[in-house]
Each structure stands twice: as structure tokens, then as C-alpha cells.
């Protein structure tokens, strides 16, 4: 479903993604792990048509996301690291707008919206503005929205960041359910190793832009001779802390936090 071959992305002299190759099969849940600044988000951005690779090739369901952008976009759903809901609109309206943007016919749109909102336990509150939702509810809504246009692939970029264990558990069980029911391929990144261990069929570990390990959680643990995925991860990527310098996005993030009182 996803083929990545010798993918490279450099920004000036800095190489964020360096010769990465991997494949994700149809219906598989693939976890992409790595410390901060390892190149996870850059890779997701290239997979989802938002960034142009410096070199290498990508195929999503057989399509090159650069040359056939709109066709590729119709085939995947994406949940970003930062929320991308419209806080002033209701859950229903957010789904409605998404459906129109992805050309889902009216009747199917309503039917699927109802189905998904019920599955993600948001149906009762479909008419409330999203800004009144808790962090977990917003995340669930974003994921439900990502499934609305029946994508073949769903990208989840740190979807559980900042959620309590209950919400995280619930969220993953929903994702697994749709994955099994609709055979959607799921590509996710997370910093919670226990999640990756439980949810993912296969895992890729990236560090300094290079893919340092890939395989099932068990294979990765065996490779490194460790008990838990967390230990395996530390063995692969070292224990030094990666401090990124704040970029424009971080500044706006802080600004938004300051002004919204954590509501957005």
C-alpha cells in the first residue's frame, strides 16, 4: 500500500530524511518511531503531498503523491500533530465540511457521519461546538473525520499526545476496529512505546534521518536483546536528549496556548 524507496529530504545543508526505504502492506498498522527531530514528521509530510522529496520515490496505492496530488489525497486521511478542527463549528458541521471537501456524495456523507460519530462515541454531542470538547473527544472527532471519505490509508501523527490513559486506550481500540472492519492501512507515529507495542503490526525506528530498525515489535526486541520496546528504542537511538530550537510553528503554538486558555 505504501512503498518508499531511497527517500531523501534536505533543507539546505541539513538532511532531515536520509535514504529511507520501507514498505507497508495493505491493512497493516505501521508505527513509525523516533526521538524528536528524527525525521518522522518530515516523512509524513512527504507521504501526504505537503513536502516535495529531494530525491527518492514514494507510491501510495500505486500513485506518486507529487505528480497525482489530488488522486493521492482522496486515498488517504490524515490526523495532524496539531489539532485541525474548526472550533466554532459543531462536530456534525466539521464532518459535513470534510465530506464536501473530499467529494463524498450527500447521502453517503450523512450515513457515514452518523455511523462514525456513533462508533467514536460522539453522536450524542454532535451539535455542540467543538471548542467545548475535551482533548480526547477532539482527537476522536479528528480520527472519525479522517475515516469519513473511506481512505485506503490513514496517517496519524502523534494522535495521543497529551491524552490520559483512558482516552488513549479508547482511541486505539476504535482505530483498530475500523482497521479490521474496513481494511484501512494505518501509518502512525507516537512517543508512547507501549502503544506501539500493543497496536502496531510492524514498526520502523528512525534516528537522525536514517531508518535504524524495522520489523514486528517482537523482532525488534529480539534484535536488540531487550525486554520491552522502550528499552529496545533506547538501545537503538541512545539516551541523549534531543533539543530542537523553536521554529515559527512552536512560537505560534505558544501564542495559541496563551490566548485560548488551553481551549483550542
Amino acid at each position: 500500500m505504501i512503498h518508499v524507496h531511497n527517500l531523501v529530504k534536505s533543507f539546505g545543508s541539513f538532511t532531515a530524511v536520509n535514504d529511507v526505504s520501507f514498505e507497508v502492506a495493505e491493512g497493516e498498522i505501521f508505527a513509525f518511531l523516533g526521538p524528536n527531530g528524527a525525521g518522522k514528521t518530515t516523512t509524513i509530510k512527504m507521504l501526504t503531498t505537503l513536502l516535495k522529496p529531494t530525491s527518492g520515490s514514494i507510491r501510495l496505492d500505486g500513485l506518486d503523491p507529487q505528480t497525482r496530488q489530488n488522486e493521492a489525497r482522496r486515498r488517504f486521511g490524515i490526523v495532524f500533530q496539531d489539532p485541525s478542527l474548526d472550533g466554532d463549528s459543531s462536530a456534525w458541521e466539521n464532518m459535513e465540511i470534510h465530506g464536501v471537501l473530499y467529494h463524498v456524495p450527500h447521502k453517503i456523507r450523512r450515513q457515514r457521519t452518523e455511523e462514525l460519530l456513533k462508533l467514536f462515541e460522539l453522536w450524542e454531542r454532535r451539535n455542540e461546538p467543538v471548542k467545548k470538547f475535551s482533548g480526547g473527544m477532539k482527537r476522536r472527532l479528528e480520527i472519525a473525520r479522517g475515516f469519513l471519505h473511506t481512505p485506503r490509508i490513514l496517517f496519524l501523527d502523534e494522535p495521543t499526545l497529551g491524552l490520559d490513559p483512558q482516552s488513549r486506550n479508547q482511541l486505539w481500540s476504535h482505530v483498530k476496529e475500523v482497521n479490521e472492519r474496513e481494511k484501512v492501512t494505518v501509518f502512525l507515529t507516537t512517543h508512547y512505546m507501549d502503544e506501539a507495542d500493543r497496536v502496531a503490526h510492524r514498526i520502523g525506528v528512525i534516528d537522525h534521518g536514517k531508518l535504524v530498525a524495522q520489523g514486528t515489535p517482537r523482532e525488534i526486541k529480539e534484535q536488540t536483546g531487550t525486554e520491552s520496546l522502550e528499552d529496545a528504542f533506547l538501545a537503538l537511538t541512545g539516551a541523549t536528549i534531543r533539543d530542537e530550537s523553536a521554529d515559527a510553528a512552536d512560537k505560534v503554538r505558544q501564542f495559541a496556548k496563551m490566548w485560548s486558555g488551553g481551549k483550542r
Partner: protein, 249 residues
Amino acid sequence: MSVIYILWLRELKRYLRSRVQIVVSLGQPMLYLLVLGFGMAPIFKRAGYGNYLQFIAPGVIGMTVLFSSIFSGLGLLWDRQFGFLKETLVAPVPRLQIMIGRTLGGATVAVIQGLLVAVICVIAGFRPGSLATAPFALGFMVLIAIVFAALGVAIGSSLQDMQGFQLIMNFLVMPIYFLSGALFPLTGLSMPLSWITAADPLAYGIDGMRSMFLVGITRFGAPTDLAVLVIVGAIFLIVGAYRFSKIEI
């Protein structure tokens, strides 16, 4: 088409839902209308220009439309990292449609705000000279709204974060307003000021409204006003669409 419609509808719904915001945003125009309008009236009259409230009302309406439309475009800045903009930008639709939907939505909201202020002006004592030509003033309102909503999108697409906001406010929006002839007549100004005001698109919008509301009072003439606004509007729309298409998330 449905994409443009749903994004337009979203802007409109957002506006109608924020009742407090609607009332608050009427505060500034009312301050200009009531305080300046009545405060300057005696001097204006003594200078032989007639009724100041009649003169300033189209200016205050123009100001409302300017602020409202340019801020709707700059709202992009906020949406850009955190909101909903990203959701629209990865959708399988041309960016041009998204830009048009947003711009028309912002312009519609600005026109509604302008109409509200027009009602307040009438309550305060403003009387259009001719009811036959007054509806054409609405046409100028729409043009002002489109020109500046497009400018707002062009600027909002080019800025990285909110820090540029104050800069835009002080060095672009306020000068556009003060140099537009909203508050004082543009006739008989000294050379540099008269040139600068002639380069201000809002000057033509307000002049157009004034010529429709108060028949015969005009600096440039209504046909010139119309032509300038249409041309500048087209240029800003093209620049806005281009800048919007270059946004990287």
C-alpha cells in the same frame, strides 16, 4: 462550487454565532461617528463644508468594511498552524477554490457589518440625499470588502506568525483608513498628501459611496471610483490567490 459554498457558509455561520464579537466590533465605528461626528461638526460647518455627520457617515461605514474584511483575511494566520486551514489545504480540491470561498465569506461578513453601521448612522441622524442612488452605495461597499479581503489573504499567506500583526495594523490598515478621506475632505490638500491619498484604494471606495449617498459630492467621480476598485480588486485577488497557493504547512 460546493467547496466554495461550504467555506463561505462557514465564515458566515462563525460570524453569526459570535454575537458578543458583533457588538464589540461596532464600538470603534460608533466612537468615530458619535464623538468625531458631533465633536467636529461646528468647526466643519464654520469652514463652510456643511453637515459633518453627513460627510463622515460614509467614511465610518467604509472603515468598518475595511477593518472587518482585512481581519477576516488575516484570520488565516491564526488558522494556519492550528486551525482548520490545514484540513482544507490537504483536501483534494484546488487551492483557488479554498481561497475564493474564504475571501467571499470574509467579504460577505464585512458587508453585513457595514450595513449594521449604516443603520446606526441613520439612527444617529445621517440622511442619504437621494434614496434612488443610495442602493448603489451598497455596490461600493461590496467592492471595498472584496478588495481588502483579498489583500488580507495575500498578507495572511505571507506572514509566518502573529508578530507581524501589529506591524500590519500600524503601518498598513491605519494609514489606509486615515488617508482615505473618511474623516476629512480630500480637496485642496498640499501636494504630497494629495498624491498619497490618490494611491489609497479605500479613498475611491469611500468617494464612491459618498457620491451615491450625497449626490454630487465627489473627488474623483463615480466612474473613476468604480474602475479603480475593480482593477485593484482584480490585482489583489490574483496576488492573494498566488500567495495562498504558496503556503507551506
